[in-house]
């Protein structure tokens, strides 16, 4: 089947946005990079909206999109609700931050938004479980959807943190600021997320039966860019805090490429029970 780029970008971008907001929520409790909360949440909501718009480009009749609210059991309905809830939570969080609202309220909204973000990254893959396509019909597929966007979201968060820390303070001051952020949990999270992403990609792809050069090429890209690079960056960051921006940004880009490659694998390897009209979808 042809790669459905609108859906690939939708699931990758909204997943990144969701995991980016997970980091914002976690930092509400850790308090390691408070200055980054607002810009990180802004990036999260912008990426979520762009991702949502990407999904609309897949439709031939977006003018009838409100009809999607009429069938609550469909995967598209669940995705639409989850992305809506995520965007609302991030928007409310931004308002609370701007108005200097109480920490408790901020934490509560951030946690709820983070839950929606994680659920969205999983359910975007769950929508494809259908008996008509045997090598999609495994829980490994949505698990891979969830795991491949986690390093992208964490790296995106660290990129924002680095950008905020270095802003207006000069390069040297920026390095110092980055070094003093005590970000240890985040590089460790990036390392672990990179490992899990690679494992998730391998688990699904091998179970689905990658059988040609294109699938194996995408598999290599998804594992290396989406797993190995973030993993290495996570390992290097504690030793090279002055390179936070470069390592985080590179990890973010590579992890996003890896997440996209993983989603492409799904479209490349799918084989229906039968394709009797031999239709190209």
């Amino acid at each position: 089947m042809e790669i459905q780029w609108s859906l690939v970008l939708f699931t990758a971008l909204t997943g990144l946005a969701g995991w980016l907001f997970v980091c914002v929520a976690v930092d509400e409790f850790l308090g390691r990079a408070k200055k980054a909360s607002f810009p990180a949440a802004v990036v999260s909501i912008v990426v979520a909206i762009v991702g949502g718009l990407a999904s609309v480009t897949h439709l031939s009749h977006p003018d009838r999109i409100m009809g999607a609210l009429s069938h609550p059991t469909s995967g598209i309905f669940v995705e639409a609700v989850l992305i809506g809830c995520l965007i609302v939570c991030v928007a409310v969080y931004l308002v609370l931050l701007k108005r200097g609202a109480g920490v408790g309220a901020r934490k509560a909204v951030a946690v709820v938004g983070a839950v929606f973000g994680v659920l969205l990254s999983f359910m975007a893959g769950e929508s494809y479980l259908m008996s008509a396509r045997p090598n999609w019909n495994t829980q490994l597929l949505p698990l891979g959807y969830l795991l491949t966007v986690a390093p992208a979201g964490i790296a995106a968060y660290l990129t924002v943190v680095a950008a905020v820390a270095g802003k207006g303070a000069g390069e040297a001051a920026g390095k110092d600021a980055a070094a003093s952020l005590e970000l240890k949990p985040y590089p460790m999270a990036l390392l672990v997320a990179g490992v899990l992403s690679a494992v998730g990609v391998l688990a699904y792809t091998l179970s689905a039966g990658a059988s040609d050069g294109a699938a194996f090429g995408l598999l290599a890209l998804a594992v290396i860019a989406g797993g190995v690079v973030p993993c290495v960056a996570g390992a290097l960051l504690p030793k090279k805090p002055e390179s936070l921006l470069a390592l985080a940004a590179a990890s973010c880009v590579c992890a996003l490429v890896g997440a996209i490659a993983y989603r492409c694998i799904m479209w490349v390897v799918t084989v229906p029970v039968a394709d009797l009209f031999m239709t190209v979808i």
Partner: protein, 211 residues
């Protein structure tokens, strides 16, 4: 609930494609798209012991239709008579139903930007006529009716056949209603996931010639 569907006697079908043409004419289906298609299955075996049959395929009117489950807008739905249909006015063109159909028997209407499929010629049957594919079948191999009505053409055709000769397309939980009658004396039944659809129109050069 009634259960309207088609029954095709493959012992009689000789692959003339008249049902395919009649369907396209009746429903104005674009070149390269189908609501009903005749698939050549075979030849199988070793010369001179060869088997071949023709398998006309269309929406199987599944009891547990996956297209209805995945449709986000209710455009794919089951009507009061139990028929699985498409309301093109509600279709947003997400094509999930096409992905979810185990047999790939849904079509994309590029002009209307909507998914469509066999309607069992509801506009004809409502007026007491037969679906176009049934009316045009010169081998009298196609039957239309309610499986739950023992007096219907489909029930009678199934009752007249040996139970071991009655088949359906591979069931992956969707419970296809359409039945195919193929007796061993004609050919061995092959599940759809075991066959490679073959027909003249599978050849891109054929399309180029046609265009």
């Amino acid at each position: 609930m009634s259960h309207y569907c088609l029954v095709v006697d493959l012992d009689r079908c000789f692959g003339c494609h008249a049902c395919e043409v009649a369907c396209k004419n009746e429903n104005g289906i674009a070149l390269g798209e189908y609501w009903n298609r005749v698939i050549q299955v075979g030849p199988h075996g070793t010369f001179p012991d060869l088997e071949q049959y023709w398998l006309p395929v269309q929406c199987q009117q599944c009891e547990d239709a996956p297209c209805v489950h995945v449709c986000p807008t209710g455009a794919s739905y089951r009507d009061a008579d139990g028929k699985v249909l498409v309301d093109k006015e509600k279709c947003i063109g997400c094509k999930y139903c096409m992905m979810a159909c185990p047999y790939g028997v849904r079509s994309w209407n590029a002009a209307e930007k909507a998914v469509e499929k066999c309607t069992l010629c509801g506009h004809l049957t409502a007026a007491g006529e037969q679906p176009a594919c049934v009316a045009s079948c010169c081998a009298s191999a196609r039957f239309y009716g309610d499986l739950d009505d023992p007096e219907s053409d489909v029930s009678k055709a199934i009752a007249a056949a040996d139970a071991s000769s009655v088949h359906s397309l591979k069931d992956v939980g969707n419970k296809p209603a359409t039945r195919y009658i193929l007796s061993k004396k004609i050919a061995t039944w092959h599940d759809v996931d075991e066959i490679s659809p073959a027909s003249d129109s599978a050849d891109p050069a054929w399309f180029a010639k046609e265009a």
